[in-house]
Amino acid sequence: MHQLTLKQALEEVRKDGGSALIKALSARVSSLNPKLNAFLRFDPAVSVVRGEGKGPLQGLPISIKDNICIQGLETTCASKILKGHRPPYNATAVERLKNAGAVIFGQCNMDEFAFGSSCETSAYGVCRNPWDTERVPGGSSGGSAAAVASDMTLAALGSDTGGSIRQPAAFCGVVGLKPTYGRVSRYGLIAFGSSFDQIGPITKTVEDAALLMNVLAGHDEKDSTASSEPVPDYTKSLVRDVKGLRIGLPQEYFVEGMDPEVEKSVRQAAEVFKKLGAEIKSVSLPNTSQAVAVYYIVAVAEASSNLGRFDGVRFGIRASEQSLKDLYFETRDEGFGAEAKRRILLGTFVLSAGYYDAYYRQGQKVRTLIRDDFSRAFKDVDVILSATAPTPPFKIGEKLSDPLAMYLSDILTIPANLAGVPAMSLPCGFTSSGLPVGMQLMARPFDEPALFRAAYAFEQETQVYKKKPKL
């Protein structure tokens, strides 16, 4: 029963209200989570607290990344500094799930404050990849992706600042969607890079992603960056038809150092689309090589500011220092992990007087160039296809001591966040050693329907999603 998709579970729940399903999944979490550490907190007693609404997700368990606020439940961003913090309110995304009848089903592990590409920087232990527990599940929504991939949950919410939904979805062989910036309310998402962050679904199938997006998307008066653009019914885009769809292959995305098996998988995917009647074109996104540098300037600048509130005064841990300055220093020294400190320092530096023009302002300019790249490319094509990550999941510890190498694992996902366009990762094959490979589809702002159409056609044609990790 744990292998059900959201869509299949809907039928199941109609029979008995879903208690058998929750029981089966709870049992699976109990047996598997000690091995994977995908859930930071999982309390079956809490999980059976039903959503109030009689909506489209009635009785369906959905797991939540630990940086999305749930009223009254400890929410920590996998950081020591927020230990014991219980938000007094629900994130809008959680509120919408509950109103749709969903059951909040555990909180998923992540990189501390979403800073990472491997789920190794969590203050509460690394999360492991269900396909190979010696490997990382990807980051930062690694817990959400691993939980879905290992059938411990039906679906999960993640957040994506530079690829944090798509890269772990690729590493774990599931579907991950980063919606257009502003499509899903960020209210209640503990901010990393405010102008990049988006909440999105991690699911077993493209169809499930559409079901969740129907609930999550839409304007929110609590978030002034949330768009009031009307929300289409995304399930209407689930048609096996890509005839005439123009798909672009960005030449700059087939980078040096890319794993040949990953490249091969993606090129094969392009062939599948071609066979299905899509038109494959080459496109250029000339400023791609600047994306990682710009991202690590602008996103960490925002992050350093967003994390200022963790000072030991109002929530989380507080060092027992007497003087104010020492209270700040010690609380932050004890509370933040190495990667968080690295990013706070970097962000503080790029914003400081005398460096602002050279870094932050310059970064914003290049960000505009990258956005322009996309607008230009989307004049010629409807969807852009690439790999999600340049390599298959790497070994735990392999890149931890080399931050730059780690940062490069988001090289293909970061541009979509810089430009604010929607992007989806879905499984497109496996390496010879059986590790999942994900491909990325990007579309014009608010054209999630194009992503669903292309992804659904590919998924139904290839049935890659049906393969499960051996656990």
């Binding site: 938000p87 901010a191 978030d223 500011s305 005064v313 602002y356």
Partner: protein, 485 residues
């Protein structure tokens, strides 16, 4: 070098609380005097995950002030984060406006008393006026070894109005603040209550040798909680900096605190310790465009402002520019004046009675015009009694304090006290006869052409009638009686 050889250069930064029902980025109440942290929510507490949403009313009020100060209203609006750590700042950044303030350059007129007693106008340029959120408040009193934080003020909308360094004396600074406060009150955008923190002021003060054009090194003085304190602190700074220069020392740029009890400024932090606020655009608030129509619609809501009202009062009622300026300084005072005129009282008399007698009584009793026990209608009643000769001006000066004390109308007091002016010619003639008889020298003097003798005799008639005689009538009767037969 004598103090007079230096020229002070002063700029003021005024923070005014905009009078909105809810805070600038959340829907919490802005009510003053609530229990600590009663008016808080996840957003103004800076809870992780919370987001700001701009209160349109705060923006509207901010633009209203900008229009009244002749500012250039920005077409494109953006907010910025000003980052610093302090326990009363929940997010460790303040949402403010850095390089694109809603209100750009503007100006306001101040009026100073000239050497000849008339008014001299000076145009003071406003550099900018931008929106921002207030911080919370630390409570130390009665707490041993700890501090408590009250976030009720956190997120209260402020407009920071920054002047150019155009002010040249503590008096000018005072006049600027008075003029600004009057404008804010006329606009009804702020109650300008300094005790409750809804109007706060920092002063940038430097001095230079007269005739120099280069600016001297400034000190910023904070913690000024009354207009008088602003004046005193600026005077203190001028003297302190002059003494330093006279001693051959250099003034250094620093932030100083004013201690009102001691009447001195103290070093708060030097330039080296100055904050690096690491400003950057607030990503949680989307920049937006302000349409010309919106601005024009707000302009249409502007009320008559103090300067226009003073001009109207002077023109319509024949008041002097000085009197009109005094009356409009506080909107309630000008309202009171115009309310008096509803009873067709003589405007000049009303103006004089308000400015000389009524304000003195109010000051003495520490009352404002709004809670004056003598309402406009009652004052008009008193003046009517003078105009129809029921009482004379001298008696009226005794009637007003009694009205003030008892709240009774003038007519009732005059009746009770039997102060009705006597216009009975026979009665005055009898008294005049007695006075003439008792003062032969004055009579002789008057007849010899010494006119001041008449004044004395009138005074004697008034005295003998216990002030009740109509002085004009007494005058006439005496003159008639003293004509050489």
């Amino acid at each position: 070098m004598p103090l007079d050889d230096y020229e002070p250069v002063i700029g003021l930064e005024v923070h005014t609380q905009l009078d909105t029902k809810s805070k600038i980025f959340c829907s919490c109440s802005t009510r003053f005097g609530c229990e600590p942290n009663q008016n808080t929510c996840p957003t103004c507490m800076g809870m992780p995950g919370s987001l700001p949403v701009l209160n349109e009313e705060a923006l509207r009020l901010g633009i209203k002030v900008g229009l009244a100060l002749n500012c250039k209203i920005s077409e494109r609006l953006k907010f910025d984060r000003k980052n610093y750590f302090y326990p009363d700042l929940p997010k460790a950044y303040q949402i403010s406006q850095f390089d694109m303030p809603v209100n750009g350059p503007g100006w306001l007129m101040i009026e100073l008393k000239g050497a000849d007693g008339g008014l001299v106008e000076r145009k003071i340029r406003v550099h900018r006026a931008h929106l921002e959120e207030d911080a919370g408040k630390l409570l130390h009193e009665g707490i041993e070894g700890a501090s408590l934080v009250d976030f009720n003020r956190a997120g209260v909308p402020l407009l920071e109005i920054v002047s150019e360094p155009d002010l040249r004396s503590p008096e000018e600074a005072y006049a600027y603040l008075t003029a600004l406060k009057a404008i804010l009150q006329y606009l009804e955008v702020s109650d300008c209550n300094m005790e409750e923190g809804s109007l706060r002021c920092d002063a940038n003060v430097s001095i230079r040798k007269k005739g120099e054009t280069k600016l001297g090194t400034k000190a910023e003085v904070k913690n000024l909680n009354s207009f008088k304190a602003v004046q005193k602190a600026i005077q203190y700074e001028i003297e302190r900096q002059a003494a330093m220069l006279d001693n051959g020392e250099r003034v250094v740029q620093e932030t100083r605190l004013w201690n009102d009890d001691k009447g001195q400024t103290f070093l708060m932090r030097s330039k080296e310790e100055a904050h690096d606020y690491r400003y950057f655009p607030e990503p949680d608030l989307v920049p937006f465009t302000l349409s010309a129509e919106t601005v024009e619609a707000i302009r249409k809501t502007l009320p008559e402002l103090p300067a226009a009202r003073a001009a109207r009062l002077a023109k319509n009622y024949g008041l002097s520019a000085y009197d009109a300026a005094v009356l409009v300084q506080e909107k309630p005072l000008a309202n009171y004046f115009e309310d008096c005129l509803k009873s067709k009282a003589n405007p000049k008399m009303v103006s004089n009675w308000i400015q000389s007698e009524l304000l003195a009584l109010l000051n003495l009793n520490k009352l404002t015009i709004e809670n004056s026990p003598v309402k406009a209608e009652a004052l008009a009643g008193l003046i009517a009694l003078i105009e129809n000769n029921t009482i004379n001006g001298k008696i009226a000066k005794d009637v007003l304090p009694l009205m003030f004390e008892t709240g009774k109308p003038a007519g009732e007091i005059v009746k009770e006290k039997g102060w009705v002016q006597v216009t009975d010619t026979k009665f005055i003639e009898e008294i005049a006869d007695g006075v003439i008889e008792a003062n032969p020298k004055s009579v002789t003097d008057f007849r010899a052409g010494k006119n001041q003798a008449l004044g004395f005799l009138v005074g004697q008639v008034m005295k003998a009638s216990q002030g009740k005689a109509n002085p004009k009538l007494a005058n006439e009767i005496l003159v008639k009686k003293l004509q050489p037969q």
